[in-house]
Amino acid sequence: MAQWLSDWLTLSPQWEWVAYLTVALLQAVILLALVMTAVALATWAERKVAGRIQDRLGPTRVGGRFGWLQPLADGLKLFTKEDLIPANADAVLFRLAPYLSFAPVFGVFMALPFSDGWVAHHFNTAAFFILAVLGLEVFGIILGGYASGSKWSLLGGMREAAQVVSYEVPLAFSAMLPILLAGTMDLVAIGEAQRGWFWNWFVFHDPFTFVAFWIYVICAVAGTNRAPFDLAEAESELVAGFHTEYSGFRWSVFYMGEYAAMAAVCGLGVVLFLGGWNGPIPVAEWLFGPASSTSPIVNFLSQLLGAVNFIIKCIIGVVFMISLRWTLPRPRIDQVMSMCWKYCFPLAALAFLGATLWVLMLPDGLLGQGHPKASTCEQSVMVTVERIETP
């Protein structure tokens, strides 16, 4: 796109970077808009789904029939609320913490492919980049807890950070299985590998990836401090954990960070395990012929259909996480920690081992008919070796 823009502006070479910069900014704005709508949708969905689960209506007054403008109303309220900084808080860090916890999650969307070609920046190591960036979010929590100056928010922050840090390990481990199956860390390739009918999705590839998927779900929920694992708010004397002292806009940034993280983790899970933009029935292939057909319009339409598939799956994931919150009680902090280290992590390791054995022993799947494009382990080795030979 950048190349096309610079020709259109007929810029001489050394001014080319202006075109690249504007394209980058454009993509950033689109992504920010997308993240904001995702967050707004998530907050609205949270209140509606919670209402339905509890046999009540949820917001219905603000804006039209189903109260769909409620997030806007919340946002407005939060922006106009007074933004106070506690007396013995560390002002500089207090201001920095919310943005330190929101920015990484925004980074995740940069590498997340919405459809075949629709990815802000095509990372070769997208999955690894996303896991690394998700790790950054922890520091926002620690800083928020510390900078608030009160013993309780520090305790809350520490407790939540410990949980997030310890759940990242099984999360990364279970996310490695699709990488193993697809042979690369490039999410677009992983998505490609799951084309065709829904049984080509990695979650149905073999029993080990199925187990890994559910471990991924648990760790995703725990890693973003959601639902049954929101320990900090639970403890009676920690009140609201690290963001007790925040109010107004800063608090809403933390709030957005949480929902954006939820959407990001759902998105990653969908691409890794549930076939990303490939719908359960390969409609795109029937309608628009093989994937990379020539005419841009057809190409665009198939990518659009892919994006719709992806977004629907993400919505289902988010609604699932929300419904978890309103049905299950909270486990205790030591139960959460022991579940992570005694159950999730060993199981993830076992699943990883099982998947590798499965791939080696049954290269083309249980029923003998191969996998559309997924290169098994040795194949990926062969592919890499050939590529090396030809400089």
Binding site: R56, E237, P329, P331, Q335
Partner: protein, 404 residues
């Protein structure tokens, strides 16, 4: 335990080599606190996550109702009994009314007796619903709370139709009841009971057999039989420890006469099984832990529904009217009487000492939550900070009753 005697904890030079020195923390839960069910202040001395000692402080809601009892006639004291356990106003009224009737040697007509059983058992259901809902809240699940309060609203609507009030009824008074049932009320009540039974199963699915709930409550705050009796715990807290004792069956004859022709089972865990229409007991649950205390209340709700249905039949068959309460300033015979009744929280005892005038000489209220709460330090020693709300919630205390 890890503070070495004679060493000033602030002195850094001495760090016992075997031990990473952890700082003991004094955490102050309450008196305004989301999970202490009212103005209860618990000071926790903790070492990291571990609670070394829990010291409850009460008295924030003390109105000295007993002193007021010496200034008003028994019928005028009824509204004060409502404010003691404000979640079970009817049971409190009944307790006081029966105590004075025992002193007067008064017997209410059949129709009034059945109506009293009906109203009191409905109030027990409402109180247990609050207990179950707030216990779900203490452990983090919000939905059961909403379901419980939706059902409780329907009961409060029924009470509002009967006596005009939703919380402090003053409906059962000495010598009978303030008014008879409005027409059509019994059908509404039956309609409520019919649609209420499936909700109990929902609550069981949401809480009693929910794995995380069981993990949070089974084996936590175990109260042995001897300790429960020693601390004078009564009601679901006593039955949760396996003691087969229910005043409606084994109480003072003057009180058990009221339930003489009703059949119900006492909700207690007899060799691993509860009275039947209830899910199985999970394996991790130890007799006397938070789970059992919670489950006893759920089983009691089922028994109360049975009692209300029988009371409706008997009320329809009983002829005559519900009789008249005693005059406002009727003279009391000299004497001293103590009577305990089975309230949702436990055995609520009332004592009246009269020297022959209309105003009693001394009024005494023995509160069940007062004794149930006194066992808290015993249960919280060595548990985790996250267990304290679970234990306090399982005791189901109401501070109005504790402080009187």
């Amino acid at each position: 335990m890890n503070v070495i005697p004679g060493v000033d904890p602030e002195d850094f030079s001495v760090t016992s080599e075997t031990e990473v020195r952890t700082e003991e923390l004094l955490i102050n839960m309450g008196p305004q606190h989301p999970s202490t069910h009212g103005v209860l202040r618990v000071v926790l001395r903790t070492d990291g996550e571990l609670v070394l000692e829990a010291i409850p402080h009460i008295g924030y809601l003390h109105r000295c109702a007993e002193k007021i009892g010496e200034k008003v006639t028994p019928r005028q004291f009824i509204p004060y009994t409502d404010r003691m356990d404000y979640l079970a106003g009817m049971n409190m009224n009944l307790g006081w009314a029966l105590t004075v009737e025992k002193l007067l040697g008064l017997e209410v007509p059949e129709k009034a007796r059945h109506l009293r059983v009906l109203i009191v058992e409905l109030n027990r259901i409402a109180s247990h619903l609050v207990a179950a809902g707030t216990y779900g809240l203490d452990l983090g699940s919000f939905t059961p709370f909403v379901y419980c309060f939706r059902e409780r609203e329907k009961i409060l609507n029924l009470f509002e139709a009967v006596c005009g009030a939703r919380l402090t009824y003053s409906y059962i008074t000495v010598g009978g009841l303030m008014a008879d049932l409005p027409s059509g009320w019994l059908d509404q009540c039956e309609a409520f009971l019919d649609q209420f039974e499936p909700v109990i199963d929902d609550l069981h699915d949401l809480l009693s057999v929910n794995h995380i709930f069981v993990k949070r409550t089974a084996g936590v705050g175990v109260l042995s039989r001897e300790l429960a009796v020693d601390y004078g715990c009564t009601g679901p807290v006593l039955r949760g420890s396996g003691v087969d004792w229910d005043l409606r069956r084994d109480g003072d004859p003057f009180y058990t006469r009221m339930y003489r022709d009703y059949d119900f089972e006492v909700a207690v865990c007899r060799d691993g099984k509860y009275p039947q229409p209830s899910p199985p007991v999970p394996t991790e649950a130890v007799l006397g832990d938070c789970w059992h205390r919670f489950f006893v209340r759920m089983v009691e709700v089922v028994q109360s529904v049975r009692l209300v249905r029988q009371a409706i039949e008997k009320y329809r068959l009983a002829e005559g009217d519900i009789g008249q309460p005693i005059k406002l300033n009727q003279k009391l015979p000299p004497g001293e009487v103590y009577l305990e009744t089975e309230c949702p929280k436990g055995q609520m005892g009332f004592m009246i000492v009269s020297l022959g005038e209309a105003i009693p000489w001394r009024v005494r209220a023995r509160s069940s939550s007062f004794c149930n709460l006194s066992v808290l330090p015993e249960l919280c020693r060595g548990c985790l900070v996250a267990d304290v709300p679970a234990i306090v919630g399982s005791l189901d205390i109401v501070l109005g009753e504790v402080d009187r």
